[in-house]
Symmetry: D2
Subunit: 261 residues, 4 copies
Amino acid sequence: MARRVDINCDMGESFGVYTLGHDAEVIRWITSANVACGFHAGDPTVMDRTVRLAREHGVGIGAHMGFPDLRGFGRRPMHVDTEDLINDIVYQIGALAAFCRRHGLSLQHTKSHGSMNNMADHDRRVAEAIVEAGLAVAPDVPALVKPGTPLHEIAEARGAPFVLEVYADRAYHRDLSLVSRKVPGAVISDPEEIADRVARMVIDGKVTTIEGDDVDIQAESICVHGDTKGALDIVKAVRTRLEQEGVEVAPLGTWWRAARR
Amino acid sequence: MARRVDINCDMGESFGVYTLGHDAEVIRWITSANVACGFHAGDPTVMDRTVRLAREHGVGIGAHMGFPDLRGFGRRPMHVDTEDLINDIVYQIGALAAFCRRHGLSLQHTKSHGSMNNMADHDRRVAEAIVEAGLAVAPDVPALVKPGTPLHEIAEARGAPFVLEVYADRAYHRDLSLVSRKVPGAVISDPEEIADRVARMVIDGKVTTIEGDDVDIQAESICVHGDTKGALDIVKAVRTRLEQEGVEVAPLGTWWRAARR
Amino acid sequence: MARRVDINCDMGESFGVYTLGHDAEVIRWITSANVACGFHAGDPTVMDRTVRLAREHGVGIGAHMGFPDLRGFGRRPMHVDTEDLINDIVYQIGALAAFCRRHGLSLQHTKSHGSMNNMADHDRRVAEAIVEAGLAVAPDVPALVKPGTPLHEIAEARGAPFVLEVYADRAYHRDLSLVSRKVPGAVISDPEEIADRVARMVIDGKVTTIEGDDVDIQAESICVHGDTKGALDIVKAVRTRLEQEGVEVAPLGTWWRAARR
Amino acid sequence: MARRVDINCDMGESFGVYTLGHDAEVIRWITSANVACGFHAGDPTVMDRTVRLAREHGVGIGAHMGFPDLRGFGRRPMHVDTEDLINDIVYQIGALAAFCRRHGLSLQHTKSHGSMNNMADHDRRVAEAIVEAGLAVAPDVPALVKPGTPLHEIAEARGAPFVLEVYADRAYHRDLSLVSRKVPGAVISDPEEIADRVARMVIDGKVTTIEGDDVDIQAESICVHGDTKGALDIVKAVRTRLEQEGVEVAPLGTWWRAARR
């Protein structure tokens, strides 16, 4: 099975005088940063500093596109019509790509954030807009997608590049959908249990669902969080375990194309 | 003297349900569009539509970067510190460049808007930030600069590309600074008088100042306005006169590099 | 039946340099203005000028509360949680009330705008938040409500003041819900037909539904539009007809309390 | 000299998911809260919670009005024209007053924030706008003013209520202007030294300037900070010392009117 994986985490979510997250610590343990683009979080200076920080640590840079809702941190469902949604994503990707260019880098990946990302799990219109926007301005840049979702299917059908992403600390249903956070057991908090699950997903391609079955799952990038101290312990446990098991942990940009052949 | 010139106009200043300007008409008479980037005006869908419109008319596309002040339309002086100013400009250029890419075009030029542009006439810090940001992400894309301003001097000193811009309807002082709008005679409104002045600036390289002297001026791009019906008459008069005089009116992107040799 | 009615219209929807609507003309024909409060449209100076204009014309002033979405003009459905929704409404009512106070007036009514208003037609949580916010800061100020909606029911159940509002140019279903704009015949455009319908709703308390039945409807305030030239013709036709029929057209603030006894 | 004083501190500066300050701790040591009104910081829910918190602790509530610049936290100089400035202040005062009303309180005071407050130290136009706005919507609510500034003078000249405010941790010039933060010694950091200075200002009406002279100063409210842990130590030291010296520390709303007689 896979002996190589990426670890991605949201970054650059500060805004003006407001600081969020522990980017300077978390960056040492991950390989890809999902950088907020100023719509749900982040501002141009935060973006610049985050890209700089990622470059210093050899971490790949992704555009983390969200709804235009700083107050709600992009977590509030909004009905944005298709034209606006595509254009909002094009805009955000372009803005972040400029900071990559400034620092001599290329955009590595894209990932939709928060409510936009959740909507793309079940609303094909939203998923299509995300794929369309990516093809329009960054056709060679893979999107992070959850296996089996409309976003995954549409990207595949349209020949858009993508990388399969699993969540380190979330329980799965049999169809690989995430268990709602409202359900007990949906979020796993013990770092060692999480590390066990991640290692099994990456190495064996299996996960035990909340229903108790073992199902197949393909993990090319592991999504971790960095916004709490506990989260940092999880990131460390995941990375340490993967390396102990002989898995190469590397930015997806360094290997995903080869993996497609 | 010059037998070739560009005509630039601000475009894409609508926002959401709010419409501003007469872009669909003005675009037929100009050769370069300064497209608002969502900070002082414009939104991603307006940007997309404006780039599309410009492409249909063979009009070159410029990033029109402004202060983050939709309410004040970027016309209010703001003290933005240097790091933020550079990053705000990088962000805006990147965002607009993405829409150019989407439509198979390249960014042709940049121009700072409103209060940012005015500040760059006398505040070297602001002018330096504009040049720095341009070099950082679009080093081959010329900035529109007023002759003799700090922006002109700094661009030249740092080897940043630029194109010399004159204002069709504004009176000049001897040092080529614009006469303040508060001074009687600062703004010229008669289309034929404006056409005369523009033709003389372009063809003879001369302008009569408000003090009554003739001074040398170099006009590579003519700035016109499109926000009023009267403005449209001026644009038509300027373009018609230039063509009658045998001046080639063409997007600066098609000729400025050759003109530098 | 009723010999007295109010005519309300959205006003103060301009923002910064952006102008929307024909307030100065429409104000002459209406009796109540729903003034945008800076969330979906309007800004403090627009609010101040609109309140001043309304005072000059003896027009009652209402707070028109919307979602925080200038780009989408408050027409995009957003999931705002209950605490935020209540507070956003409190905030907007308070801001507008300050301009009333400045000009020696009292807030006459409240009305939710756009998507918030539509959601309150079927989402009891939203309707409850609107009623709760009104009771919290303006317990004596009536809300405009559509007859038979959750907003109407909840206001009544909680003892919150309200005024029944009908739409001049919209078709109704039997249950007094508005016919979706997507359905042919949903929007009526002929001024005389509209005037006929409005007069019948006000004087006879009857409306013919899109299904062809006559149903009872109570009209205390007529909602008209002012954003197009055609709209202005409708406003004139409605007001003229009502006055011809001997209906007193007056700001709801002058009579609604007496009407409740 | 004075045996009664108020201690004010900025509060409610969080926004959405972003937390700023240590309000829940600082509130226990102060008597007046300057509550951000959503322009430079704060949002409606933060405002509501802050007013509630202040009420629980018997702390007076003030509107802390700032420039519309969340990104710059209201600290960036902006040229807002007079009409807009007055209206922005009216709007903010009205919005906060609504939350006071919701919780059965009255607005106790107003204070301009950040760059607006600094500009009012030397720009009479800004100071006049602040006074004008206060008189327009809250004529009985005192503004916090620095002794000897245009804001102080204009408030006095126009008969607008005000309370004299001194800064606990800042050095003064002979004319009672604050020493620029760029000058060494401008900010005092030792809690005991600060407590000494404050006690002397309050009790003896004297302060030693950075030039080394003793000058008269009248202190009705002490401005302290709450955004760092060190700041909290200062607040505690100031309050403890004042109480040890027998000074009554009480919200200005409870005594300022009587003090004027």
